[in-house]
Assembly symmetry: C2
Homo-oligomer: 406 residues x 2
């Protein structure tokens, strides 16, 4: 990457794929349109001085879906299912039926989607040849067995994460997926459905930080979601949700593989602990793992210690270190005071730069529906999805269990 | 920690050791005096709404030193020596002489300190009974042998970091220190001489984030210090500087032990790489390590990839996760646009809070000189300083060497 330094802020990113990068900013009246919420801040910082922070915003009107599919839902034990449904609908999916064995969850679902048929059984859905895709957020340890039945019925599958909770399940899923050539997708939403994460992927691909060396994810979560009821029993039981690295960490393993573009990877080391939830002895409230792949290294910390004062469920961060710069995402909050989420910071050879990603398009739903129709892998790479699962399952299995001085 | 919520911002930290915390803010006209540089920002964020960010500033006039000592300098191969000297002088030290074998470095030193005697040899200094302390930033692998001679001559020692470059050296240093009862201090300046890091220590001790669970340090560094000459040959030679984890990482191992208050600790795993400096095959430009101790866990990433656009040598971060909240330090830069360094963010049960630490007192020099006079360990715990060295030496020795796809 050769630097091209001019007085025009629009030139400051240098010559690397400038067209690609600026295309991402299309629609702004200038590359540095400043959101109103940041005006007071920006007014205090001249662009000319070091430490100043040019702002960019990248609105992209989402293109309409190109394809239509029919899908159904089986298993609605986690509210993530609503996000999965929304993504598939945005992509051109028509939801035709659902099944869940829990009457209370079913009633809530029906209230939300009164036009969707409540099936009498799982088999009723699996045996309906018009259904192309099954979406599920069933209890985690039931996701792989269900997905196997789905694939064996000739349908594609979109599971909530974790999509697989043991290495034995993973081996079976891989075998059946290879036999049936169906899609076993896992909704790693903290990348696929986060606008700042999508933007980071574009920037990395465009070479904005050179060659990626490492990713660090810090992923705190909140035990009690404000406004939601108490967590169900399975939430506290490692044998059901797979452990904190398997569950929460699967998002981050996906990001590590994606941003480092690793096609092979392994776990260097991992740790778990139950620091402060001794009333739930089978729960893990802290975990971390060190990863390495053929495209770079990775580190992930997950925990259930988001303090109430944050105002949202977690201060999720992603740091992508490259040979020519680095990116930081503040995905859901910015404790420095910017409102909302989707904050991207890019520091390169020339300056720090802030990109508000609130208007970045989320392509996953559209890509995924298109993949179902065209038998492609544009929304999610099948091997990468499985490798992310493999990493967290290995990390979970070999994790050193920490206990600290009380 | 029980919450005490009132309308007074000064009350919002809750009831934990409020006296201790507010004592740290003494001298501000209110707990929330806002630095002028932040006014435009603060004006845009009402304290009442979520995501708002009350600002505090904690000016403390440094108390005068209570003690006087005489000290000399042996070995000035790293410019860190000037920071070490300044700390000891602030604490009451009088620099009387120096020795270095390099004529060019000696000439530069003499220009800076014309009143300080240039000794003819190391022995001249070691045999001067009026000298109580030797300060050194000699080439890293010579620091321990020198420190051993210093202690054997009945003097205390303040080494630049890394203070020790092999486990064999460490064993010898520990033995001689135990025999002589001299002080073998290592200047972990990224905690001891960073105002935000000092403030974080106060907050942690006061219980501001509950019990500490983990620390994460991200510590990028810059190969070419603007305005400085080229790096000397030893900088590129792992056998001389000890490797990236030993060298840069010793700062972070110290912080892990200090903030988790761990008295025993070990390395879970570590990795090193030479990603982009193949013209220096014995150099390491990336490293990371996962640590665990009896007080908490730790993760450290070190690298030499600070991009020029940052405007300073490194975007050093520290995240301290506690059971009741967390602290983030942006030690030397804030890519979100605040000027300078020493930015501390605290999120607890009640809100995110920003503390500008620019005026926080640096007590190390004063404490250290007092320790020399009173044979105490207030500035640095001897066992902790050695344990930090032990961790990085083990991490370095057992590090997995990574190679990525070119």
């Amino acid at each position: 990457m050769k630097a091209v330094s001019t007085d025009s802020p629009g030139e400051r990113l240098g010559s690397y794929n400038r067209r690609t990068f600026l295309a991402g900013l299309a629609g702004t009246s200038a590359a540095f349109a400043i959101p109103e919420s940041c005006l007071a801040f920006a007014a205090n910082h001249s662009q000319a001085e070091p430490g100043s922070l040019p702002e960019t915003k990248a609105p992209e009107p989402p293109p309409p879906p190109h394809h239509k599919i029919r899908f159904s839902v089986i298993g609605i034990n986690h509210y993530h299912v609503y996000g999965q449904i929304a993504a598939v609908q945005r992509g051109g999916g028509e939801m035709v039926s659902f099944y869940a064995k829990e009457p209370d969850l079913s009633a809530e679902f029906q209230k939300r989607f009164p036009q969707v048929k409540r099936a009498a059984s799982e088999d009723e859905i699996l045996n309906d040849p018009s259904i192309q895709l099954i979406v599920s957020a069933i209890i985690p340890d039931e996701r792989a067995p269900l997905g196997i039945r789905v694939m064996q019925h000739g349908k594609d599958y979109l599971s909530d994460k974790p999509g697989i909770t043991s290495l034995e399940q993973l081996a079976q899923v891989r075998r059946v997926q290879a036999q049936t050539r169906r899609i076993y997708a896992i909704m790693y939403s903290e990348r696929l459905e986060v606008r700042a994460a999508v933007k980071a992927g574009e920037l990395v691909k465009a070479g904005a930080i050179g060659r990626v060396i490492q990713t660090i994810n810090i992923a705190p979560h909140q035990i009690q979601n404000p406004g939601a009821g108490p967590r169900p029993a399975w939430f506290w039981d490692t044998s059901r949700y797979g452990g904190i690295l398997c569950d929460v960490g699967s998002h981050q393993a996906d990001q590590f593989l994606y941003y480092t573009n690793s096609t092979t990877a392994d776990v260097t080391a991992s740790q778990v602990a139950n620091v402060a939830h001794h009333d739930h002895p089978n729960f893990q409230d802290f975990g971390d793992m060190m990863l390495h792949g053929n495209g770079g290294a990775g580190y992930v910390r997950v925990d259930w210690f988001t303090p109430d004062g944050l105002g949202t469920w977690g201060d999720g961060r992603l740091f992508i270190l490259g040979t020519e710069g680095y990116i930081e995402l503040r995905k859901y909050a910015d404790i420095a005071g910017r409102k909302g989420g989707d904050h991207l910071f890019l520091v390169d050879r020339h300056q720090p730069r802030y990109i508000n990603c609130a208007d970045v398009d989320l392509p996953f739903g559209r890509q995924f529906v298109s993949d179902i129709v065209n038998r492609t892998q544009t929304g999610q790479d099948q091997a990468q999805a499985f490798l992310a699962a493999e990493l967290v399952l290995k990390a979970q299995k070999q994790a050193k269990v920490l206990t600290f001085r009380p």
